[in-house]
Amino acid sequence: MAAKQKKVSRNPDLIRGVGKYSRSKMYHKRGLWAIKAKHGGAFPTHPKKAPEEVKPAVEKPAKFYPADDVKKPLANKRKPKPTKLRASITPGTVLIILAGRFKGKRVVFLKQLTSGLLLVTGPFKINGVPLRRVNQSYVIATSTKVDISGVSLDKFDDKYFAKQVEKKKKKGEGEFFEAEKEVKNVLPQDKKDDQKALDAQLIKAIEGVPDLKSYLGARFSLKSGDKPHELVF
């Protein structure tokens, strides 16, 4: 017999707080008379458990008594909701970035990361936008889609984009006077390879559509006469 997951009440609500059937009707409906009859006129009971010996809790004297009464802040149990992705943004959508150094660039959307940011790539060869995270609010979604089905995106998550932590070097006196070592921000070779591998598959799909490559290479701008609220993207 399949166990029902939700127990449906036999007493439907007329309005909230008022049931359709009275106590005596419910007694009959639940079959309590049958249970009583089965057990010879009384409800079946479990034998009462003997109360266990409750050992008095041994309180250890506190190690530290603070001088003033310090108020404890209330516990914050807030869990932030995962960012809702706009319905117009699906994997493979061409997005227009609106802010930052890549503003106006048309870019391919790959997936939404757990932080809520969108993972996006130019592709790099076409318009110079690398694998990058972008906030949904700074993006216009167009209705143009690129076929992204053959691409694996499992290795890209928020940790992939974390800043590299440099080990702190203790500066000796002499080193203060030396010229500071140039902090070189070289991209590690494996990230470059990731970009190339991902883009190779995307570019194949993009070149299948005429003019799409030059479209992604061009920046978006408002021209004279354009009314943004009337433009269909």
Binding site: V94, S143, T144, D211, F220, L231
Partner: protein
Amino acid sequence: MVFKRYVEIGRVALINYGKEYGKLVVIVDVIDQNRALVDAPDMVRSQMNFKRLTLTDIKIDIKRIPKKKALVAALEAADVKTKWENSSWGRKLIVQKRRASLNDFDRFKLMLAKIKKAGVVRQELAKLKRQSAA
């Protein structure tokens, strides 16, 4: 100035204001100085102020307040749809609608096509200029 388009029963008009903006309707009756009873195959017969209507050149042959079936039959017989779509006014509206519905990608492709066409025209012009100069 002579008027050419009259308000009469059977006159096809374009709604130029309101929720039904851009629809073609037929005037099936005149209510008073300002209002007409209009009807179209896909709407409920209703009253409309003349100020919301722009008369077209097309007129169909119907009796006063025909039944929906009779109206549809008369519209088919007069072939209003093709007459409208072939008229310059109708064609302009179709082009406007198409332009408004263009995608960002479509607008990009349109720009490329315009540049290409302009290039070809300029080449031809240059050729003709050289011929006339020579």
